[in-house]
């Protein structure tokens, strides 16, 4: 009886180890996050908000633009801190960031975040 219990515990431990090593195997040959981010870097000195803010909060900016753009029509204008006025539109973003086709995708793929923007908007990856 006692032996069976030890076997049980051993099996459980072995399973855990196997699981951990499977994680390990999955991470090999993986580029660190900073590299993924750098691959996408463009000149972001003149974005609508500071780069650091956009890095973490771009989805909120996009959500605000998405919710107001249609209803405010031509009045849906975003004014940046330095006084530039930009139409709230995804194409405003893509006017700069579209130059790097992988700008959105490298990080989003790494973080496994799939936004539904590209259901309608034509993504830079789809353009020839």
């Amino acid at each position: 009886m006692r032996k069976r219990h030890i076997l049980f515990i051993g099996l459980l431990a072995a399973l855990l180890m196997a699981l951990l090593f499977s994680f390990h195997a999955g991470t090999e040959g993986e580029a660190p996050a900073s590299q993924a981010a750098q691959a996408a870097a463009v000149d972001s000195s003149s974005c609508v908000y500071p780069k650091e803010y956009m890095h973490t909060h771009h989805m909120q900016v996009l959500e605000d633009w998405k919710n107001t753009a249609a209803h405010e029509g031509p009045d849906a204008v975003h004014e940046t801190a330095d006084g530039r006025k930009l139409q709230k539109n995804l194409s405003t973003c893509l006017a700069c960031h579209g130059s790097n086709r992988y700008f959105c995708f490298s990080c989003h793929a790494y973080a496994n975040a799939q936004p539904n923007c590209w259901n309608c908007h034509i993504s830079p990856l789809e353009t020839p």
């Binding site: 998405k66 919710n67 249609a70 029509g73 259901n119 309608c120 908007h121 034509i122």
Partner: protein, 252 residues
Amino acid sequence: MMKNDRREFIRKAGMGLLAGMGAASGLLTGGGFERTTSAAWAAVPGEEGLRWGMLFDTRRCPEGCTLCIESCHHTHNVPDIASLEGKIEWMHKENGRELLGSLCASTAAVPALCNHCAEPSCARACPTGSIFRRTDGIVAIDYHRCVGCRSCMQSCPYGEVSFNWSDPRAALKNPTVEYPTRQRGVVEKCNFCSDRLVRGKKPSCVEACPEGAISFGNLNDPSSEIRRLLESSETLQRKPELGTRPSVFYII
């Protein structure tokens, strides 16, 4: 009877309706019922500022020419679906008599699009406010909010709202990158090129017309070209008797 497209019928139905009403009120012979004067838009008190309007001079519209439609559909990524059941159109050409009623002498095809009504019945039916009238008079759709209940489509008396029954991207061969497509499950219609207006451009149909048959401008500005044309010529609207006050006019 030949099998008709429903929307085509809605367009034709104006004639039947008018005939019925005309018979009842004796207005048909009088003729003034459908003819619009400048009073149709200017007499509404308290309405100032911008109200975009469009005028087709169908006398200059060549038979068989579809350049305006092609340009519109290409600019806005309108999918090219062959079946009548699933067809999506922002602009199309129809028999003028069927479109505008018996006052239209010619049966030649004239262009038609969303009328951007001042009293849009589609906006009154939409349960989420996704289709609404902007301050510049354009009836716009918020594709991010539309739930796809098709109430607007049902209540548009002109049949100018289309629904994406299937994935529109599949039927799109050469998309315009600058303008988004729509996704399956939302409605769509002409937006009076609000995307181009904001960049200071004229609507793509106006630009595409080689004959200059389409005028576009502010209906509330007495000095605009469209007002000048409206005041100097006799124009027609589609189904004005419904009280929707369309912003699209026709010179026959």
